[in-house]
């Protein structure tokens, strides 16, 4: 552990690829036992940051210390104590499920017998024990993901890096992965993950940063971020598309001035950010506005995310 009490600590971290700056100077501190998330649209610099923390990508600038060691000079020593779940599965299709774990364990210098025992335990942990002798190729996406997670744990890491751990999984598989990750966290393992699922971030992360354009634009716990960048509740007023066309949307919004902290006009909806949704709905009806449907909901991290990173599509 570093002298500053952080398991990961970064100052002025920059990553450039030629002329392109993927990470434009970020400061970070992740404490032991924490579940820390990176949120951000595609191209925000999340994966580049993760690869630098994983000591597979040297920073272009700045200081990065992991487990109290300098990332620039102690790559192999740091990697010996990390678990990594990359964005794309990199399992070995020539090997069996079990061999994928035992061979990988050997790269960490884990003795054969220990590797065998640990691999069996881990297959139990990710509910793949009955597939131990099978080839990897025919496994489902969820199974491959779980196997990748099991592989990342083979060296009993203190810190596990997960790059979009549940992207592409069906809901059952996602919930199983979440539950297993939660158990790891209970055991005191520090988790660092990237995601663009807001529910995932809310479920798993104690603290998170929102990245956009290579910079950190907000930082805090999910509830603190909601409190700071959104309101307690959101009223969604749905209209016929023609009703909100061009200036008409703005007209309706003007009618509703003062009823909410913030009014957002979308092509099919008006969003009213407010502390008390039901009271706002009553006030809306009082002013004679009649939407097709009304929905009152709690504010979510998604509202924060969209507010901070915008609604423009990023590919």
């Amino acid at each position: 552990m570093g002298g500053d009490g952080y398991l990961i600590s970064a100052t002025g971290l920059v990553k450039r690829f030629g002329d392109f700056t993927a990470v434009a100077g970020i400061d970070l501190g992740v404490r032991r036992g924490e579940a820390f998330g990176f949120l951000g649209p595609n191209g925000a610099g999340k994966s580049s940051t993760m690869r630098m923390i994983g000591c597979v990508s040297p920073p272009s600038e700045g200081r990065l210390s992991i487990l109290g060691l300098d990332a620039a000079s102690h790559g192999p020593q740091i990697r010996a104590r990390l678990g990594v779940v990359p964005q794309q599965d990199s399992l070995d299709v020539e090997l069996t499920v079990l061999e994928n774990l035992t061979i990988y364990a050997r790269y960490f210098g884990i003795p054969r017998a220990v590797a065998q025992r640990r691999a069996a335990e881990l297959l139990d942990f990710v509910q793949l024990a009955d597939r131990a002798g099978d080839r990897v190729e025919p496994l489902s996406g969820g199974m491959k993901r779980r196997l990748t997670i099991a592989r990342s744990l083979v060296n009993e890491p203190e810190l596990v890096l997960l790059d979009e751990p549940t992207t592409g999984l069906d809901p059952q598989a996602r919930h199983l992965v979440w539950e297993r990750l939660y158990r790891l966290k209970q055991r005191g393992v520090t988790l660092v993950l990237t995601t663009h699922y807001m529910d995932e971030a809310e479920q798993l992360c104690d603290r998170l940063v929102v990245m956009d354009g290579g910079r950190i634009v907000a930082e805090g716990s999910p509830s603190a971020l909601i409190a700071r960048f959104s309101t307690r509740e959101v009223v969604e007023l749905r209209f016929d598309l023609a009703d909100l066309d061009g200036a008409r949307g703005r007209d309706i919004a003007d009618t509703l001035t003062g009823l909410a902290d913030r009014v957002e006009v979308l092509p099919d909806r008006l969003l009213l950010y407010t502390a008390d949704g039901d009271a706002t709905v009553t006030a809306v009806t009082d002013r004679g506005v009649e939407p097709m449907s009304v929905l009152v909901r709690r504010s979510s991290l998604e509202d924060v995310f969209l507010r901070l990173t915008g609604r423009t599509l990023v590919d």
């Binding site: 552990m1 570093g2 002298g3 690829f17 994983g54 597979v56 990508s57 040297p58 487990l67 109290g68 060691l69 102690h74 790559g75 192999p76 020593q77 990697r79 010996a80 104590r81 990390l82 990594v84 990359p86 794309q88 599965d89 990199s90 399992l91 070995d92 299709v93 020539e94 090997l95 061999e99 061979i103 990988y104 050997r106 790269y107 960490f108 210098g109 592989r151 060296n155």
Partner: protein
């Protein structure tokens, strides 16, 4: 600082070699044709068939089959060296992404290279041993020095594999490999003194044959199985192959790093 730095494991390249061997346990059958049967077919077809004609002229001073066999042996080592270094390596970069997974562990780029090149050499050694036995059965081994073709075969494979690793690391698609095969591997196989002495080549192109690592390998193997090798030229050939292996390794380390450590 209170934390002890956990020691980085020893023998990292050996674990990489072990990994490739485990995979090979499952895929070796697919390599039997190209590594064993094809060379034997060459030997029987060209050696006996063409050999019948050639031997009537008595130009070689030795039966054509005995002339050809060590050349085919050296070619087999080259073929394995290149074959194992193209699609297989590319797939580990791009399709299966095994290199990425390996580099997330304490392994370094040099460990990946050393371990996998050791595997390529292993493949060549096995093929050369089998081929040597076949040569003996055909009565084409004329000197006890012939056993030395085994390590020489390994060196030929390494001298061809290391630069091919470097080439593969620069490729963004698999299309380059058929170009490599057509414009490098096949001409080298045809004009490196395997099927006829390079003295048959027109004088202006002969130096090209001398540049080919295969020609040096063929000279070594032929000298060893016929028992005609002289020490000084032998050292020259070995040194030339070692330079290819060494420079190839340095280039491979550079191109691998450029591709993987970004």
């Amino acid at each position: 600082m209170a934390t002890t730095v956990r020691a980085v494991p020893r023998g990292r390249a050996a674990h990489v070699l072990a990994y490739h061997l485990v995979g090979y346990r499952r895929t070796w059958r697919a390599t039997v044709f190209s590594s064993f049967l094809l060379p034997v077919i060459y030997l029987a077809g060209i050696g006996l068939g063409v050999g019948g004609y050639v031997d009537r002229g008595h130009h070689l001073g030795v039966a054509y089959l005995s002339f050809l066999a060590p050349g085919v042996l050296a070619t087999t080592a080259l073929t394995i060296g290149v074959e194992e270094s193209t699609y297989r390596v590319f797939s580990q970069f791009e399709w299966d992404r095994t290199y990425e997974a390996m580099l997330a562990t304490p392994l370094r780029v040099v460990d990946l290279l050393l371990g996998q090149l050791a595997f390529v050499v292993f493949r060549a050694l096995v093929a050369v041993v089998v081929f040597l036995a076949v040569m003996a059965a055909f009565g084409t081994v004329h000197s006890p020095w012939a056993v030395a073709v085994v390590p020489v075969g390994g060196l030929i494979a390494l001298a061809c594999a290391a630069p091919t690793f470097a080439f593969t690391a620069t490729q963004s698609s698999a299309q380059g490999f058929s170009v490599l095969q057509r414009f490098a591997v096949i001409p080298v196989q045809l004009f490196s003194g395997v099927f006829f002495p390079v003295s048959q080549l027109p004088a202006p192109v002969r130096p090209l044959a001398y540049l080919s690592p295969l020609w040096h390998g063929v000279e070594l193997c032929r000298g060893l199985t016929l028992g005609t090798l002289h020490p000084w030229p032998a050292l020259g050939h070995l040194a030339y192959l070692a330079v290819w292996a060494g420079v190839g390794f340095a280039l491979a380390a550079r191109t691998f790093r450029r591709r993987l450590v970004v």
